[in-house]
């Protein structure tokens, strides 16, 4: 990665920075950064953004990215049941509302076509911008280096996903696993900002785990680290898709919340959702959030039980990793801080107090995390492909 791109990347994550701040976060010397910034300024890729707040000495000039000279970021966020598409400029301003639509991704070719069609439509509506970067995140064992998703057979369009998307849409594309990407998003834009070691739980239809260790994503030796959802924990008899019993996933995911509620409704328990279910034949995620926010007993109980199991899982993580912070993110973030009491009491039960005291548990405050996550992934690519000409080389021309 060249310095130019590195500077742009840091400014993307931090909005605006001074030369000396850039020097610290790139690890390069001040003269080097000053030189590079001057070049970028001359090329109108950076703009001066006023002086920094006073710190007792000469005030530093702050620089930020020139929106109209830098690429547009296209984010595609895929989960088991829904896909969302977002388009934003380099300063994270959405250029159109996020478009979310249902797609079940085991439905291969059709699912892929639907997603591509939706993306193309969104891009068309913006007048087919030329200079774009695309980031795509989805569940499964994703090899970001090669752009493959090994959870799909090689016949599936989702297998060689990077190449397929690039050939369909024509923009440089980076792909990553949803939970890993969400960890990056929380680390750069969410509650994990400034922490070196954080764990991010992707509380979604399943439960994923993304780990940031020493400021970088930890993937383990073969890329499977964070297979948190299948650690042996519960004494339950429910069978997991992996073939074992007692996996965290069957006890602590959004799917299990829905299962618990549906079972209660079938038992005829009183609930706001009883009517919703009869009227619409189904319960959506927003129905669930509404019921939770309005104190529906069945919903509260289901969520509380799930948080108890999740807390047991987090206790194990705390013992092993001693993280600075654990962030509950993903779709389940929508429940907000009301998740914390049940979670903390469970951690209190399963964790040595000396350790649990040292890890802060929080719920994400990022809406549409996976869209932000996809944008972060898009930005992992080279932003400017043609390296800027240096001062003296230019003068020769």
């Amino acid at each position: 990665m060249n310095l130019t791109n590195e500077i742009i990347k840091h400014l993307y994550y931090s909005d605006c920075l001074s030369v000396s701040e850039l020097s610290v976060c790139t690890g390069k010397s001040i003269p080097k950064i000053a030189d590079e910034v001057a070049t970028l300024l001359r090329d109108h890729l950076l703009i001066e953004d006023g002086f920094a707040a006073s710190t007792g000495g000469r005030r530093a000039m702050r620089y930020s990215l020139a929106v109209d000279r830098l690429p547009i970021i296209i984010s595609i966020a895929i989960d088991q049941f829904y896909t969302a598409i977002g388009i934003a400029d380099i300063r994270n301003t959405l250029l159109a509302p996020i478009h979310t639509f249902p797609v079940a991704i085991y439905d291969d070719e059709h699912a892929f076509a639907t997603i591509i069609a939706a993306a193309r439509e969104a891009i068309d509506r913006l007048g087919n911008p030329k200079h774009c970067l695309l980031g795509l995140t989805m569940p499964g064992f994703v090899d970001s280096e090669r752009g493959l998703n090994h959870s799909f057979p090689s016949s599936s369009p989702f297998f060689n996903i990077k190449q397929r998307v690039e050939s369909e849409l024509g923009y440089p594309t980076a792909v990553a696993n949803d939970s890993s990407a969400i960890a990056v998003a929380e680390h750069k834009f969410g509650k994990g900002r400034g922490s070196q070691d954080i764990l991010v739980v992707n509380f979604n239809w399943g439960v994923g785990l993304g780990m940031i260790i020493s400021n970088k994503i930890y993937k383990g030796h073969s890329g499977y680290a964070g297979e948190f959802s299948h650690i042996p924990l519960a004494n339950s008899q429910k069978l997991c898709s992996c073939g074992k019993k007692g996996c965290l996933e069957v006890e602590a995911s959004l799917v299990s919340v829905f299962d618990a509620i549906k079972a209660a409704l079938a038992d005829g328990e009183a609930s706001h959702l009883q009517q919703t279910f009869q009227e619409n034949g189904e319960i959506t995620f927003s129905d669930l959030l509404f019921a939770f926010a309005h104190g529906d007993q069945v919903t509260l109980r289901a969520v509380k039980n799930i948080m108890h199991m999740l807390g047991k899982g987090l206790s194990t993580l705390i013992h092993i990793m001693n993280p600075e912070r654990i962030i509950v993110s993903g779709k389940g973030e929508g429940f907000g801080n009301d998740l914390l009491p049940a979670l903390n009491s469970s951690i209190q039960e399963y964790c040595i107090p000396r350790l649990s005291r040292l890890t802060e548990i929080s719920v994400s405050d990022l809406n549409n995390v996976q869209i932000i996550a996809s944008a972060c992934i898009a930005m992992q690519q080279p932003i400017l492909i043609y390296p800027k000409l240096k001062h003296n080389k230019l003068q020769q021309l």
Copy 2:
């Protein structure tokens, strides 16, 4: 850390290296290394150690450390019940047999005095060498930076351990937690050589865990990472010292092996150890190893049960960390590869096969690991305090 010390350190771990190998492992350029090596050679701190094996081109000169010009390493390895003292030169040749003696380290002042006396005697016998480095490893929450062991009250000599040892013995001292240090030893000298991400289980009176992530020890945000022994796992009713039930430590340590055997003997079960116990009133660790090696049924069963529990713990680690390798080390290493069948079958039971296939489980082949570990810790200090004079500066004199 200056380059001179860095080169010496790499040679300590690798015995002998060529300039280009040193360039790779220090991350410095070849001219820089060549220059530095020339200086060290001139000062007789390095010696030419013949040509490297042919690789198809010009053969490289290999360099190794000059034993008599470099410090002697004093290792002090403390565990709950025993302490061992080893003294070796910079090429890891023992200068005297390792002296092991029983000390219970909760017995503060007396225990400390015993250890210091033994160390002083060993040093005396070698004629009080002037240039020494001392490394000390022990259980507890050790802050290596400050040289403190927070598991002891501030009144204990083991609390401000670095300072106390330095003032008693007069040699620069580094201290570390036993399990962390053993992980380093396995990474540098044991089966973890060449791997980037390894987990090392310190199978001792308790069970500890040391983690090497991206070639460096991972301690977590506040230094407590690897508190593996208290993760909630077993359904047993035995109470752990931490106040909880079902901790790994009460089910998977050497202490628990002894407990199981003693219970069986009390029940009158037939065993080689029955006689040993009646004759000596106790069973030593070597009795245990002997019985195990000779197929004593009671011993085999006890060890097998413990390995089953340890395997369950390792399964959790594999899911979360996806390590390249897990090494069972510590005193329990003495059982050798016979530990593996029970361990692997347990991992098979609790782990997703896709994951367990990717992690190799092995038993350490390092005898007296903790002595080697202490030496590694000793070497984390600056080896040469007075920086070598550079070529040109010297010529000015």
